[in-house]
């Protein structure tokens, strides 16, 4: 990369770590939601209040 490797790879690295992180967090949210829906005790709770 002509001496600019840290900047170029750093840029692409940050991009894909953030996009990958967003996808992973979404998948976790989906999984948690499915768990809550199958558990009647948790299903009645407000997810917003639960997070706080």
């Amino acid at each position: 990369m002509g001496g600019y490797g840290a900047y170029v790879w750093g840029s692409y690295g940050v991009t894909f770590v953030l996009l990958g992180g967003e996808v992973l967090m979404l998948l976790k949210r989906k999984r948690d939601l499915a768990k809550r829906e199958t558990s009647p005790r948790l299903a009645t709770r407000n997810p917003k209040l639960e997070a706080s």
Binding site: Y4, Y7, S11, Y12, T15, L19, V23, L33, E37
Partner: protein, 246 residues
């Protein structure tokens, strides 16, 4: 079936939109992957080295699409938030909430990649010039929207408060876009304009536009997954949801 014969209003109801979004996500994910692979291949193996900036310019292929996405998604978020507020359309408000996180991620990427490009190009990571400062304000607007919505327990009140902030913040979008013309800036001017021919090599342009398309497809896929989660959280009492999820 022609586009006109589809009853689009039907999909304003979460009960109809939820399964439609679910059907679209797998193909959008596939298209996103193909476009990213094509775009990255062109960016690193086909696009020539820039005669002025050397290899450092390759950051443009991700920096520009990320910066555009940050702005596009903000406008889209504000439009959805405004529609949700004006017509009491709850799906539109849910879409605005779903878009906000992805918009914030792209804006953050544009700030970081811009700083990493600024160091070799200008000798500094950051300067308080108009383009960079207004993009930082865009980041704060996203963070403000997300924080405001999560601080209010009643979702409909949170939607209305978020809509006010999103609509007021729209003023920042033309400021970002025209900042390089209105003020003296270290940041370079627009390379691609609708009215004029682009000032970059065709392979460079192709790589950038393909990565922009990849970012769009990624955003649509991620927003649809998120809005389905929001629908499931907010409409959990609705009888249709139990059938749709099962």
């Amino acid at each position: 079936m022609s586009v006109r014969s589809i009853n689009w209003y039907k999909y304003a109801a979460p009960a109809n939109f939820y399964p439609l979004a679910g059907k679209m996500i797998p193909s959008l994910t596939g298209i996103t992957a193909v476009l990213f692979i094509m775009g990255l291949y062109l960016s690193f193996f086909v696009a020539p080295t820039d005669f002025q900036q050397g290899e450092a310019y390759r950051i443009i292929f991700i920096h520009v699409p990320a910066a555009w996405m940050g702005m596009f998604l903000y406008v889209l978020m504000a439009v959805y938030a405004g529609l949700g507020w004006a017509f009491n359309a709850r799906l539109a408000s849910m879409m605005a909430t779903a878009i906000s996180t992805t918009g914030a991620v792209f804006t953050f990427i544009s700030l970081v990649t811009g700083a990493l490009w600024g160091r070799p190009a200008w000798g500094v990571y950051w300067v308080w010039d108009a383009r960079m400062t207004s993009t930082l304000i865009l980041m704060f607007l996203y963070v403000g929207f997300i924080s405001l919505q999560s601080s209010i327990d009643d979702p409909r009140r949170a939607d209305r408060a978020g809509a006010v902030l999103a609509l007021v913040g729209l003023i920042n979008i033309p400021i970002i876009y025209f900042s390089v013309q209105w003020w003296n800036s270290l940041h370079q001017g627009a390379t691609i304009r609708i009215a004029n021919k682009p000032t970059m090599a065709p392979t460079m342009l192709a790589a950038m536009l393909i990565l922009l398309a990849a970012c769009w497809m990624y955003s649509i896929a991620v927003v649809l997954v998120r809005v389905r989660c929001i629908i499931r959280e907010r409409e959990r009492e609705a009888p249709w949801l139990a059938e749709a999820v099962a």
